[in-house]
């Protein structure tokens, strides 16, 4: 697992990293590049995305207002 993803996963999963001091210490003790460490310490998501070469424009919409097969209406009639 890449070091930065591993650290992010640990930050999400380890309650002891919920306080700022432990959070900063975990970043400092990691073997990440200075740029990645700065992005994490400053909670700079844009810089992190740039460092990881990740597209910042992720579409997250998963539901339409109206389904094209009209299932809302048929579901309602079935009830």
């Amino acid at each position: 697992m890449s070091a930065v993803i591993e650290l992010l996963e640990k930050m999400g999963a380890d309650s002891s990293l919920n306080n700022a001091e432990a959070f900063d210490a975990a970043i400092a003790q990691s073997e990440l590049s200075v740029e990645l460490k700065n992005a994490l310490v400053n909670k700079n998501v844009t810089a992190l995305e740039r460092q990881l070469d990740v597209c910042p424009d992720t579409v997250c919409m998963l539901i339409p207002a109206e389904d094209d097969d009209g299932s809302e209406e048929s579901d309602a009639k079935e009830e």
């Binding site: 996963e9 930050m11 597209c55 339409p64």
Partner: protein, 267 residues
């Protein structure tokens, strides 16, 4: 028949919410399709499995999202039909405000394949925790924002109202990724039937990365059209009036209770 489909939820926050069973499904799949809200989260999934295929490629500005969702379903089913154990890994809960997971499971079952869903921690779950709202206290209505505008609903302003995908409210084309001030103004006009214009509403965004801050911005309802809205912004409208007692029904209940007390005890 070989081939199966499991749609799993990975929760909202990277590392924090994924369940052991969802992780196990991802790790043991033949192929994983990812429908997540963040490119870094997608990198995380790719660390769990060597063949993670992003569903992002099916989105395009100006393209009706119903086409996109059908393409997602077909992409997953093509691998199921080829005899593979397929996992669709979706952010949050795969069954809450998400069309493709439901549709793909339904279709896979129709074709005789094993298919089911594993729940995840949803955006609504995070909203409840982050805003300190209990949907059971006053009740809670929730709708996809555009659907709320397109159809006549019976709104109860004594309950919470949550409108999802507020950032694209009123988009009939299903092809927009950004908000439209004029349509938001129409929505404010619709809500003005039940809420004062200075009613305080909340713009909510859950944390996705452990370094993210939760957004819980309070604004006046009238200021909604000029607010900064994203695809993942949710509008939360707290109750604007107290719950009104249903005296008629309460009286009927009181009479039933009286009759029960007067009736002789059965042996």
């Amino acid at each position: 028949m070989s081939g199966s489909l499991v749609c799993v939820g990975i929760g909202m926050k990277l590392g924090a919410h994924i369940s052991p069973i969802s992780r196990s499904h991802i790790e043991q799949a033949d192929v994983v399709f990812s429908g997540v809200s963040d490119g870094i989260v997608e990198l995380w999934l790719k660390e769990m499995h060597p063949d993670v295929r992003s569903l992002q490629m099916y989105y395009a500005e100006g393209k009706n999202r119903n086409i996109t969702y059908n393409e997602m379903v077909e992409a997953m089913l093509a691998e199921v039909r080829a005899g593979k154990n397929v996992v669709g890994a979706f952010y949050g809960h795969p069954g809450v405000f998400a069309l493709a997971p439901h549709k793909s499971i339904q279709q896979a079952k129709l074709e005789g394949f094993e298919a089911y869903m594993e729940p995840g921690i949803s955006a609504e779950d995070c909203l409840v925790a982050d805003l300190g709202i209990d949907p059971g206290k006053f009740g809670c209505q929730q709708y996809e924002a555009s659907q709320f505008m397109f159809y006549k609903r019976r709104l109860d302003p004594s309950a919470y109202l949550i409108l999802w995908q507020i950032g694209v409210a009123g988009d009939k084309t299903l092809g927009k990724f950004n908000s439209d001030k004029n349509k938001l103004a129409l929505l404010v006009g619709l809500l003005a039937n039940d809420y004062p214009s200075d009613h305080q509403v909340i713009l909510y965004e859950a944390a996705v990365l452990p370094i993210d801050m939760v957004r819980a911005e309070h604004i006046a309802l009238a200021d909604l059209p000029n607010a900064e809205l994203h695809q993942h912004t949710t509008l939360v409208i707290p109750p604007a009036k107290p719950m009104e007692k249903n005296q008629q029904l309460l009286e009927q209940i009181r009479r039933l209770d009286e009759q029960a007390q007067l009736a002789p005890c059965s042996a």
